[in-house]
């Protein structure tokens, strides 16, 4: 017997309340409950339609339109905006900048976040204060953070630039922000500094959940500290890492503020990543269609990457 024939031979599953012979009063009650339920979810559905579905639909519509600067008249152009993006000489540079920005930001945030989480997981006096201090970068407004980094990187008065100048890494009165590679490294560092507390807190919560028995058993088996970390801690952090990686990937790729406020995408476009390109097309050249197409393009890439990653993980976790 084939699998299909078994399936067709099976009766359709009955609803959980099939043993009840529903009278009119019960039916009414269920209807009333359903109506009440619908009323409860109505605000959420409305919220989703207004703030999620409609904007997404509108961006999709805009991505296939060209809007006249003067008259605001819209005209359907199909995939012309996407073709234009693929032909744009800027595409390779911006895509490369976005990749560098994202990969190094994530490596830095996860590395520093994990190291910080392991530190704050220790029960030593004053740890509460240290935890609070380490959280500060995440709660400081981005504008303040950007100004703070710009000052530290100032070629004449900045502490970081002065240190690099005295080490001979930079010339006199030079700033990393004035050098293409230095500017990219600077904004990545600022982003690592800004984003690592989120990773730290998430890892710390996961570390708190690891049963101490596992460490005790490892010690009984003669495991070293490194082996405890490698074979107990890291596997237990797998699940949270997978979730955070997807989240931080999306947040980092689309993070506009910090780069714009520190370098404006310069010098010479060296730090211009995808969100800055979207902003410039939309609010600089007022080409809303191209800006929307760029946003859809980026969303598409992110959806493909995230789905591929989740599928890969599912395949790995299958027995």
């Amino acid at each position: 017997m084939t699998r299909r024939s078994v399936a067709t031979a099976m009766p359709a599953p009955a609803p959980p309340w099939h043993h009840l012979r529903l009278g009119t009063s019960w039916q009414l009650l269920i209807d009333k409950q359903a109506r009440t339920g619908l009323l409860f979810i109505a605000p959420s559905v409305l919220f989703l339609f207004v703030f999620v579905f409609y904007p997404v639909f509108d961006v999709l519509r805009l991505s296939m339109s060209a809007i006249s600067f003067v008259t605001d008249r819209e005209r359907f152009v199909g995939i012309a905006n996407f073709v234009e993006i693929l032909r744009d000489p800027k595409l390779a540079t911006v895509a490369w900048n976005t990749l560098i920005w994202t990969v190094f930001s994530l490596i830095g945030q996860f590395g520093l976040g994990l190291a910080a989480a392991l530190c704050i997981n220790q029960n030593v006096p004053g740890m509460k204060l240290i935890r609070t201090i380490l959280l500060l970068p995440y709660v400081v407004p981005v504008i303040a953070l950007a100004l703070f980094w710009r000052w530290m990187l100032d070629g004449s008065f900045g502490i970081i630039s002065a240190a690099l100048q005295s080490l001979g890494v930079l010339g006199a009165d030079q700033s990393p922000l004035a050098l293409p590679n230095g500017a990219m490294a600077s904004v990545i560092l600022a982003n690592i500094w800004r984003g690592f507390p989120f990773v730290m807190i998430s890892y710390w919560a996961a570390l708190q959940g690891i049963p101490t028995e596992q460490y005790e058993a490892a010690r009984v088996d003669g495991a070293s500290t490194w082996q405890e970390f490698r074979f107990v801690t890291l596997p237990c952090l797998g699940a949270i890492t997978r979730v955070m990686l997807v989240l931080r990937l999306v947040w980092t790729v689309t993070f506009f503020d910090i780069v714009w406020l520190i370098t404006r995408g310069g010098p010479g476009g060296a730090t211009e990543h995808w969100p800055i390109w979207i902003y410039e097309e939309t609010m600089g050249f007022f080409r809303f269609g191209t800006g929307a197409a760029l946003a859809v393009f980026l969303a598409g890439i992110l959806i493909v990457c995230s789905t591929a990653y989740l599928l890969l993980l599912r395949r790995e976790s299958d027995p």
């Binding site: 006199a172 009165d173 004035a178 010479g268």
Partner: protein, 440 residues
């Protein structure tokens, strides 16, 4: 019958004071926020002028420059553009192109067209109409340290070569090899600043994007001058400017000048107020000269300037009328001078009557910089352009200010990533592309 009804309505409205003169008119008034003092003085003047128009109310709002275009686009789409707006010339071009303005030619004529400095009216003229009332006349010239010039035995430069030589002479190395002083700050911040520095040099040599007489696009025909200007700018940067200035914006080069790190800089006069707050002792040695042209034999053709303007948004006839009446009141010479005094030297009144008024001339800062103001008023303000507006109002100015293609080309040339000729070609290609976009 109809007649008697209308008479009755007339009597009733007359009795209850519902006449046209007292009809409620609510105006929205936006100003770009440059300083709190400027916003305060505008608010004060609105309050002074409003009693002349019973029934008119004003909702006053300051809009940060960075959010201006976004706000304007949204407002225009919702048909809620401000009735009056105080903003820079680029936004005048933007609003006019979007059909969001009414001309203010009648207001200019009522106030006396001759009283306005002609260059500031020309910048916002289009189709035989004036689209903005000049208020703050902005100006860009070289600000320098007179004491350092005297010490080095230097005279005011009259050509690019003389300027470069003076800048080199003033760049002094300290004992550790680190320059103690740079001759000339050449800021090239990607957004706004690089185009302003570059076009100051390009205009001084007689260049333009559009021919001031015909309005035709001519930048492409002027590539030799465009390349020469950019090459000079980069030479000046490499010889006498702090290396980090390739990404400097206004605050950085002004700080460097006020703190005594650079001897000269291309500036709008904002260093005066900054020095008064941070390093008042240095003020007495500040002086100015117009940015020189390529040759000492000829005066600089023009400079890069700008201005703040009052615009009247397209709206119902009663609101347009009320807006214009309010502006007429605010253009009393004393009030124009008061507004300029809220940011002295950076802002100079765009009307001669206000410039000559006791209110302006008795301001302490103005008195201190009287000779410098004479130079600016006589030699800089009469001949200036803003990129793209050489032949009058043009929305491309807004595009240049809101984007970074000129900054990218300039910075990449300064960083030796591309050749000067490639940078100029990039600017030319982008300008043509933008012009084409605006035509569609």
């Amino acid at each position: 019958m109809k007649y008697s009804v209308s008479v009755a309505i007339g009597i009733v409205t007359g009795l209850f004071g519902f006449g046209a003169s007292a009809r409620a008119v609510d105006l929205t008034f936006w100003t770009n926020l440059t300083t709190a003092a400027q916003a305060n003085v505008i608010q004060k003047q609105i309050n002074e002028c409003l009693p002349q128009q019973p029934g008119v109310t004003v909702k006053f709002e300051t809009v940060p420059f960075g959010a201006m275009y976004t706000r304007l686009i949204t407002a225009l789409r919702k048909d809620e553009a401000p009735n009056i707006m105080n903003t820079i010339e680029g936004a005048v071009g933007f609003m006019q192109a979007k059909n969001g303005l009414v001309p203010v030619t009648d207001v200019v004529d009522k106030l006396d067209r001759k009283d306005f400095i002609a260059s500031y009216l020309n910048a916002v003229a289009k189709d035989g109409q004036i689209w903005g009332l000049p208020d703050w006349a902005l100006h860009q010239e070289v600000w320098y340290r007179r004491d350092l010039f005297e010490k080095a035995g230097l005279k005011v430069p009259h050509s690019w070569d003389e300027l470069l030589q003076a800048a080199k002479n003033l760049t002094q190395a300290a004992a550790d090899g680190r320059p103690a002083m740079y001759g000339f700050a050449v800021p090239m911040g990607r957004s706004l600043v690089a185009p302003q520095t570059y076009f100051q040099i390009f205009y001084s040599g007689g260049g333009a994007i559009f021919d001031p007489k015909t309005g035709n696009y001519v930048f492409g025909d002027q590539k030799p001058l465009a390349e020469k200007s950019l090459a000079f700018m980069i030479d000046l940067y490499k010889a006498a400017s702090p290396p980090a200035s390739v990404e400097w914006s206004w605050s950085e080069y002004r700080t460097a000048f006020v703190k005594g790190q650079v001897a000269m800089t291309n500036e709008w006069g904002a260093v005066v107020q900054m020095a008064a707050e941070q390093n008042p002792d240095i003020l007495k040695s500040f002086d100015v000269f117009p940015f020189p042209g390529p040759s000492a034999a000829e005066k600089p053709a023009a400079s890069l300037g700008g201005g703040y303007y009052y615009l009247v948004g397209k709206s119902s006839p009663d609101k347009v009328e009320a807006s214009k009446k309010l502006l007429l009141c605010m253009y009393d010479a004393k009030r124009v001078a008061e507004r300029a005094n809220s940011r002295p030297i950076f802002a100079i009144p765009a009307t001669k009557s206000a410039f000559d008024s006791a209110t302006f001339q008795s301001n302490d800062t103005v008195k201190h910089f009287k000779p410098q103001l004479e130079t600016i008023f006589k030699d800089v303000m009469p001949t200036w352009f803003r990129y793209g507006m050489e032949a009058g109002l043009n929305p491309i100015t807004g595009q240049i200010e809101a984007t970074t293609f000129i900054g990218d080309a300039v910075q990449n040339a300064a960083l030796n990533k591309i050749k000067v000729s490639d940078a100029v070609n990039q600017i030319d290609e982008q300008l043509r592309f933008q012009i084409e976009l605006l035509r569609k």
